[in-house]
Every structure is written in structure tokens, then in C-alpha cells.
Symmetry: C2
Subunit: 194 residues, 2 copies
DNA sequence: AAAACACACTAACGTTTGTTAGATTCGTCT
DNA sequence: AGACGAATCTAACAAACGTTAGTGTGTTTT
């Protein structure tokens, strides 16, 4: 029932609208009929492009998850100081959020509705990511670049600190993406106190 | 159908279990029947203690919202420097989360499912809170205690940075509530860089 | 021209949802 | 003992859910 050939963009439209709708109403509160309405077709017609509601969630969550992982690997490979890598990491998160706000929101909030098997995979993906960031932080503490912080607390504080961007940022909020990135970097790396 | 007299704690049990369940499955994914099962009665029996599923959500969201507002007012009234007030604010958020983790999670994630009228009230409550914190930040910038940061960005970075606690902290994670508070304070106020 | 296919439709399925109605049980007070 | 009301139960409702079946249409392929 699902399909494969090089289709026009209908499937992508469904995924885009689904991300938007799931963000608004969350996975459980969004119905296939409402999604279909936004796409402009009837609900059963969507099953020619996707296999199930669950599959939509999977695709969204893993596309975002894999995006984070692969980009973190890019940063890791570069020849930079820990601090420069952390800055790049923060910039990365902000940019992904600005570009894929809806999907990021879904991956952050609705991953728990993944089916058992996919849920396990997703948690592994995420904890692998977190582990790599913790290693980066440990490296920074050991080399003396960073304060002797608890790396777990730091990990979550950093990642969490950036999550609001997806709810708040709009291109015309009077602050550019670059300013936003640099502001957050300043707060997290240098602190608020003058 | 709902009720009032000094009841035993059954209503509170329902609210506590509801917070836990909503946190696990989110509002839309949690059913009244499953909630009833956890409480130990049949679903229709719950309607002697609460008016509706929506009412449960309202009670949870506004009890947490009002808690934050009233405690912020306590801090505002005290004779402290801006920095000390910010520290107290961070401690406050951590403590509320540790004590009411489930309910905080619901108020943070499921408020969008409030009915139109209550949704409006909740947004007002929250933006009133945010406004007061922004004023505090502005005061700090003007007095020279804080760096010349964008106060909106700072507001959300601080509040957001603390939200992960509710997902992560457990009494036996090898870090006490006090250590946790002080670690977060250090990161946000003094920064990570040595 | 015929066959194949992609894509949309309507109708309907079996479940699950929140909630109501009505009867029953239980403890408390007069 | 009898009355009352709180608290629980079973049965059931109407609506909404994700999804399947079956059909039609228009385009592409052979």
C-alpha cells in the first residue's frame, strides 16, 4: 500500500505538515483526518504515500536524530580546541532548530510515542549523542580549558538551554540567527555576571 | 457530579496519578480508563471526584503556574542584589522541579491542550511571570551587575536550561539537590570557561 | 489500443475515547 | 432501625480514532 517510485513531493508535504501539526497538538492530539485536510486530500489517500501514523513519527524523529549525530561527527573531526568545538555545537543546535523547528519540536516532545522497537533505537541514538558530548566536556575539564564542572549536569544544561529557540525564534523578532547564537554562547561559556 | 466535602485523599490521588500518567504518555495519549486503573477504581467512579479530564489538566497546570508566580513574588520582595535574586530564582526552579516533577512536566508540555478560555489565562500567567524576570534582568544590566545581554534571550536560556532537571534528576543519582542547584548557578552565572 | 500503474475517492470496519445513567454498597448520624 | 448521602459499580452512548476495502480516473508504458 505504501510506495516507492520517485514521486512528486506529496510525501514530503505530508511529512512537513505532520511536523507542523504534531508540534501544535502533539502526536496523540493530532488526527490523520486533520492532517489530510491540511495536505488537501482525504485521509485514506495518504496511505498511498505513508504506511501509518506511526511511520510518520518515526521518519520525523530519526531524520532529526541522525542530523544531529552526523553533524556532531563533523565537528568532532575538525581540528579545534574544546571551547571552539563547544561553540560550534551550540551554533549547530541553534541552526538546526531555526531550519527544522517543527520537526525538532516533534523529535524532542513526541519521541515517547514511538513503537517499542523504534523507541529503543531512538534512545540509543540519543544517548550515543549525549555520550560524545560528555566526552568532549571531559576533555575540556582535563585539559584545563573548562571549569571542573559535573559533566552530566553541564551536558543537559547546554542542550536544554537551546531548546526554547524552537518555540520563540522568528526571523523578524529583531534578532538575527547569528546574534542569537553568539548571545547563547556568551551566556553559557562566559556567564551572565560581569 | 463533582463534589466538595472534606473528602479523604482520593481526589489528590487521582491528581497525583494523572500527573504521572500525563507525563509518561502526554495528555492526549493517556486515557481515563488507564488513569482509573492506576487509582484502583473504575473510570466512571472518578467523576465523583473530578468533573472531567480537562479539569484535571487545568488543576495541574494552574497549581504549578501559581506556585511559580507566588514564589517569584517572595523573592522579589526580599532585599537582595540582582545576582542573589537570580541565584534564588534558579534554586527555586530546581526545587519546584524536584518536588513536583510530574506536575511540572505536565504544565510544561501539555498546557497547549487546555481549553480556549483556560489556555488564554495560562498564557497570561506565564507571560506575566516572564515579564517580571525580564525586569529583574534589565535591572541587573542597568546597574552593571550583569553583562549587556539581550534580556529576552537570557530569560529563555535560563528558564529552559533548568527544565531538563525534571527528566533527569533522581535522589540517588549521586548528586544532591544542593549540588545540582549550585552547579547550574555556576554555569549560568559564571560560565563554563575557566 | 491495451495494459499497468499512480493516486484520489467513498464507505465502512473495529476500537477506543470521554462521559452519562442508573443501580448498589457502605459508613455515619439521628 | 431507618435514613441519607457519599462512593463505587456495570452498562452503555455517541463521537472520533487509525486503517482497510473497493472503485474510479487519468497518465504513462508497452
Amino acid at each position: 500500500m505504501a510506495k516507492n517510485p520517485r514521486n512528486n513531493g506529496k510525501r514530503d508535504v505530508i511529512l512537513k505538515e505532520a511536523a507542523k501539526l504534531f508540534k501544535e497538538k502533539s502526536f496523540g492530539g493530532a488526527s490523520m483526518r486533520e492532517l489530510a485536510e491540511r495536505v488537501g486530500i482525504e485521509a485514506p489517500s495518504m496511505y498511498h504515500h505513508i504506511a501509518s501514523k506511526d511511520e510518520i513519527l518515526e521518519i520525523i524523529c530519526f531524520s532529526i536524530g541522525n542530523l544531529y549525530v552526523s553533524q556532531l561527527e563533523d565537528i568532532s573531526r575538525r581540528e579545534l580546541s574544546v571551547i571552539e568545538k563547544l561553540k560550534e555545537l551550540i551554533r549547530l543546535h541553534v541552526r538546526i532548530m531555526i531550519k527544522n523547528g517543527d520537526a525538532v519540536s516533534v523529535a524532542n516532545n513526541d519521541w515517547k510515542h514511538l513503537s517499542d522497537e523504534k523507541l529503543k533505537k531512538f534512545k540509543e541514538l540519543r544517548s550515543g549523542y549525549e555520550k560524545k558530548v560528555v566526552e568532549l566536556l571531559k576533555e575540556g575539564v582535563e585539559s584545563g580549558e573548562l571549569k571542573a564542572v559535573n559533566t552530566s549536569v553541564t551536558l543537559f544544561t547546554i542542550l536544554s538551554a537551546i531548546r526554547w529557540v524552537e518555540l520563540w525564534w522568528r526571523p523578524n523578532r529583531g534578532i538575527s540567527a547569528e546574534e542569537l547564537e553568539e548571545s547563547i554562547i556568551t551566556i553559557l561559556l562566559e556567564g551572565l555576571v560581569k
